[in-house]
């Protein structure tokens, strides 16, 4: 739907005409409704924490349990190289950005279908539904970060100056999750069986990402391939920022940042293309 408006508000003029197939992102429209994005993210957080008995604890428990299982299976039995750090810290430092990405993407993928009534009964920028999911998941990440600090203290891991780069990585993961969430969310409206594919897809994606194995396990000449995965460079850099004996592979991170942006662009474009018919097919 193409909409143009002119200020001031009392003379706002809205023109509705049939949609072109590839419409540009209407930033003005997104800005006008910005408060709603915060409200939706706030609702997601509030409802999730009210509905689960464990509340905020769940945010820590999920990566923590995965860390324990992976440490036993991959650290102890398979003896996977943990780049000189205790496997507990190694895997947890990699799991944090991954669990954020996985949670944000999965919630984003379901956000449109879950809010079908909102979509069929009110107008607002539909993009805010998957985006609110990616924002709401940030809180889980922040809570889980506390356990990382505890783990580092327990295992005596003292970070180096690269720790200062840590806050840079979440925004990158957020862009990637927003792209994946918007893309999967829009596809989900049209193809309802995608819901069953998403968890499986995320699982495969995790194994293709250096979460339980070190990026240095890939021969140096071919390591750039990991950068084709938006989360590849992000997870590796997240770990490098925490572990003292490992430094950030900036070229790998740069490539992943580029593929994250590409994923975001693809997600937004596809979303824009199909959002006008959401209310008709949802």
């Amino acid at each position: 739907m193409v909409v143009s408006r002119t200020a001031p508000a009392s003379q706002a003029r809205t023109v509705l005409v049939p949609a072109r197939s590839w419409a540009a992102l209407d930033l003005g429209e997104l800005w006008r409704h910005r408060e709603l994005l915060l409200f939706l993210a706030w609702r997601d957080v509030k409802v999730r924490y009210k509905q689960t008995v464990l509340g905020g604890l769940w945010a820590v428990l999920q990566p923590a349990l995965m860390m324990v299982v992976f440490t036993i299976i991959f650290g102890r039995y398979a003896g996977i190289d943990s780049e000189g750090a205790p496997y507990e810290v190694f895997s947890y430092a990699g799991l944090l950005p991954w669990v954020y990405f996985q949670g944000a993407t999965t919630h984003g993928a379901n956000s449109l279908v879950a809010n079908a009534r909102l979509i069929t009964k009110t107008y607002f920028p539909r993009l805010y539904l998957p985006m609110a999911s990616t924002m709401a998941a940030v809180l889980d990440y922040a809570i889980a970060l506390l356990l990382l600090a505890v783990l580092m203290a327990v295992f005596g891991v003292v970070p180096d100056a690269e720790l200062a780069c840590l806050p840079l990585l979440l925004p990158l993961a957020l862009l990637a999750a927003a792209g994946a969430g918007a893309l999967l969310g829009a596809l989900n409206v049209e193809y309802r069986d995608l819901r069953y594919v998403t968890p499986f897809l995320m699982q495969l994606w995790m194994f293709a990402t250096p979460v339980i194995w070190p990026a240095t396990g890939v021969p140096e000449g071919r390591r750039w391939l990991l950068g084709l995965n938006p989360m590849g460079g992000i997870v590796d850099a997240h770990r490098a920022a925490v572990l003292p004996g490992k430094s950030i592979d900036w070229s790998l991170l740069g490539l992943s940042a580029a593929t994250s942006l590409l994923l975001l662009a693809v997600g937004l474009l596809y979303f824009r293309r199909v959002e006008r018919s959401f209310a008709d097919v949802i």
Binding site: M1, V3, A9, S10, Q11, A12, R13, T14, V15, L16, V17, P18, A19, H33, E35, L36, F39, R43, K46, V47, K50, Q51, R117, L118, I119, T120, K121, T122, Y123, F124, E190, Y191, R192, D193, L194, V197, R276, S277, A279, D280, V281
Partner: protein, 424 residues
Amino acid sequence: MSSSGAPAAIVVDGLAKRFTLGERGRHRTLRDALTLGVRRGLGLASPAKVETLWALEDVSFEVPRGAVLGVIGRNGAGKSTLLKVLSRITAPTRGRVELVGRVGSMLEVGTGFHPELTGRENIFLNGAVLGMKRVEIAAKFDEIVDFAEVAAFLDTPVKRYSSGMYVRLAFSVAAHLEPEILLVDEVLAVGDAAFQKKCLGRMGTAAGEGRTVLFVSHNMAAVQELTTTGLWLEGGRIAGQGPTGEVVQRYLSSFQDSAGTVRDVADAPRPFPQLSRAIELQRVELAGVETPLLAADRELALCLTVRCREAVPELRFGVTVARIDGVAVGTLFSPAQAGLRPGDQARFRVALAEPRLAPGTYTCAVSVGTGDGQTRRREFDVVRDAMQFQVLAGREDDADGVAGEWHASWGVVRFPDPAIERLA
């Protein structure tokens, strides 16, 4: 329609909306889409035959600023689609719409309410969903709470609210939205009578303040009370427009033609799509007559065919009879029936020996559920406007129906003969 000379607030020009129907129109699963893709690639699939429905066709009208337009028409006439296009929920297929001023729409009461959140939290969330700014909501917060009469329960999750409280709060938020163009869909069909009256008053004020209102309803009484001009849609096209009284009259008289005593309702649109349909209404017949005309002293008998999809402990039918202008006259609940197994189809005859309805045209909503007016009613399936019939003035033995007479001002119910005795 812009005879008043005021500048137009809404201009609709050649508006059309097409929906795609059926399985072939959209592949709703990835599997279907993939199979179809492969079949096409191998040259096996015939070109997809897409069934479409024009919900709106060539609709053009203008609403001057400050006018209140009532949109009327039968189910499926395109009223809701028109409202959804104007509200920007769905895009037009052809044509152009221009809206001058801030637009607010109320297509449903409580959209965006979350049962886990408290009343206070929902006021802010719902306000934001409706397009209000946070400061605006905060400024009107006390007013909203007063209007809804829920001050004592502000910090209780709304899932603990009674349905009346829930609706009052939801409507109150929406009623405090102050757009220049207000689009309203039948939301007044909820809440108790006193609250409905309050809501009507609120909408009347809106119009008084120079706001442009577009109001969609089945309730002809409300439409006539609230609106000055009417727009009648029929099959997606404009069937009439002009002063509300005239348009409503023409619309009502069009019902005389749609006679029939059998309605297949299995695929009819449902007002509450979220119901389980464990028992599903299939067919509604007006029993014992060949035309939908009932003599004044005749019983009102319906044959109702249902299909059982899931076993239920008991079922009771409910029939609500309403005047054609939407004012409900009364509701009956049948005694409980049981013993249906999944897959069964059953036909029941529900008869009211003495309906005592005044002459006029009536419409029935039929429901199947458990419980009745004394216990808690839960519906499996509801079909509105499931049957229409006319009650004649005369008795059955009065073939021409000329003998009877009933004044509209006497009301809708013919009371039974009273007891009388001479006391002095």
